[in-house]
């Protein structure tokens, strides 16, 4: 239950980090360590080299722009949790982050680390899916942008090359007055979700839904944007009855089956969680004056 021997590197810049990643064949990066360290401790991974990103100040930032938040990949989850900028512009993230692990893991865990781990039941990938986040990935070849929808390549597999580094996450703002809801079903507080749901709503003065985002996590390998439900909502007057009717479609989503729940229970949870997230979002939505 101790880490294997490895060579340790702690670059001070992104350029230094990607140069190491290009040069070293058998290297893994260390972000917050809350997933990597358990794997090292149990010797599930045996890297020849470990590249600790913790000294790269340029990766640790939360910046507000007119239309989006720009967040460095090494930003600690607890800094997201307490950030007034995040609370003001992206309250869905503030709400969701409180479900991520425990206080101790949020003190070290990072935004980028969680996204690259891509656990199906994780909250942060679902938030990025809900918001149509854009990711920036760097290597010795330069930078490229990835729409979050294109980021998951498969079960716990992001589509980045072994020598690429996630550096930044951009979260576009939703309009002032938008409603947000985040709900999760887990056996104990802090456990991985069995199913989670994130909802965003814009509602006009007449109560008509002008924009909707409905995301389910824990259902499949990657977060699922339930576009069918979103399309059924837009243009309709928001109501509990509308939500009950439209979220029923979640029952026919492909769902994972494992020791925590059979597929049919996940499908049931999907319907219920989506509806509750929408109800929470509606309660918070107020049309912009």
């Amino acid at each position: 239950m101790k880490p294997p021997a490895f060579e340790y590197h702690d670059p001070r810049s992104v350029d230094e980090a990607v140069a190491l990643m290009a040069r070293l064949d058998d290297a893994r990066v260390l972000a917050g360590g809350q997933s990597m360290m358990p794997m090292l401790n149990m010797r599930f991974v045996l890297p020849g080299h470990l590249i600790d990103l913790g000294q790269i100040k340029a990766l640790n930032h939360i910046d507000g722009h007119a239309d989006r938040l720009s967040i460095g990949a090494m930003t600690r989850q607890r800094d997201l949790e307490y950030s007034p900028l995040v609370r003001a512009h992206c309250p869905l993230l503030t709400e969701a982050i409180q479900w991520v692990g425990h206080r101790q893991t949020r003190n070290r865990g990072t935004f980028g680390g969680s996204l690259c781990q891509l656990d199906p039941a994780a909250e942060l990938p679902a938030v990025c899916a809900a918001l149509d986040a854009t990711l920036t990935v760097a290597s010795v070849r330069g930078e490229r942008s990835v729409a979050f929808a294109d980021f998951p390549a498969g079960y716990m597999t992001p589509s980045i090359e072994p020598d690429e580094l996630l550096t930044r996450i951009e979260l576009p703002h939703w309009p002032v007055g938008h409603g947000y809801g985040f709900v999760e079903f887990a056996r104990r507080h802090g456990d991985y979700a069995v199913v989670l749901a994130a909802a965003l709503l814009s509602v006009d003065a007449a109560g008509r839904i002008t924009r909707a985002s409905v995301t389910l996590g824990g259902i499949g390998p990657a977060p699922v944007r339930v576009t069918g439900v979103e399309q059924a909502l837009v243009g309709q007057i928001a109501s509990g009855a509308l939500f009950r009717e439209t979220t029923e479609a979640c029952r026919s989503l492909d769902a994972m089956e494992d020791i925590h729940a059979p597929a049919s229970y996940r499908q049931q949870l999907a319907v219920v969680m989506a509806r509750r997230a929408l109800e929470a979002a509606l309660a918070r939505a107020h049309p912009a004056r």
């Binding site: 101790k2 880490p3 360590g33 809350q34 358990p38 101790q104």
Partner: protein
């Protein structure tokens, strides 16, 4: 043995542990918990699972509760670390939380206790008057097999009251480094 900062297998680190400056050479693969236990002989920090779920190894790093088994000793270079051994006063007077655990039977075997105490020190620094459910959420990352948690919660609420009482001795507990106040490291 080359101990320069470019070395990839051994590093010299300098940090503060329980108020004392410590300089040491560590193997890069050693966890903070093992460094504290073996090199500094501070065995109060316990290893329950070594994969981040039990919380027995929790220590404070720059005022923040941290799983000692999920951090490398080299990552603590330049940090301020507080372990359970650093909670009582120099003259042996127990921290109010420790006294409350004693008074309210908040421990039996004591294995989870160091992790519980450091976690709760952080809670009370952030939230001096927590509600019961807030205490329960705060310790949700710490497993106890003996007490059933109620006595731990009772002890915490009692400690909070004692620490807020007029005339309560102001203990120099490590202040958490809040985001707004922290300079870029």
């Amino acid at each position: 043995m080359d101990a320069s900062t470019d070395n990839t297998t051994r590093r010299r680190i300098a940090l503060t542990v329980n108020g004392r400056t410590v300089e040491a050479e560590v193997e890069v693969r050693h966890t903070l918990a093992d460094f504290l236990r073996h090199q500094l002989e501070l065995t109060g920090t316990h290893l329950g699972c070594e994969h981040g779920v039990c919380g027995a190894c929790t220590v404070l790093v720059d005022g923040r509760s941290t799983r000692g088994c999920l951090m490398l000793a080299v990552q603590a270079n330049g940090c301020t670390v507080t372990t359970v051994e650093g909670l009582a006063a120099a003259d042996g007077t127990l921290h109010p939380l420790q006294q409350a655990f004693k008074d309210h039977h908040g421990l039996q075997c004591g294995f989870c206790t160091p992790g519980m105490l450091t976690t709760l020190v952080e809670l009370l620094a952030d939230n001096p008057q927590p509600a019961e459910h807030e205490v329960r959420v705060a310790i949700s990352g710490n497993l106890c097999r003996c007490t059933g948690y109620q006595a731990i919660v009772d002890a915490t609420l009692a400690a909070a009251r004692a620490m807020q009482a007029p005339g309560a001795a102001q203990r120099p507990v490590e202040a958490p480094v809040l985001p707004a106040a922290r300079a870029a490291r």
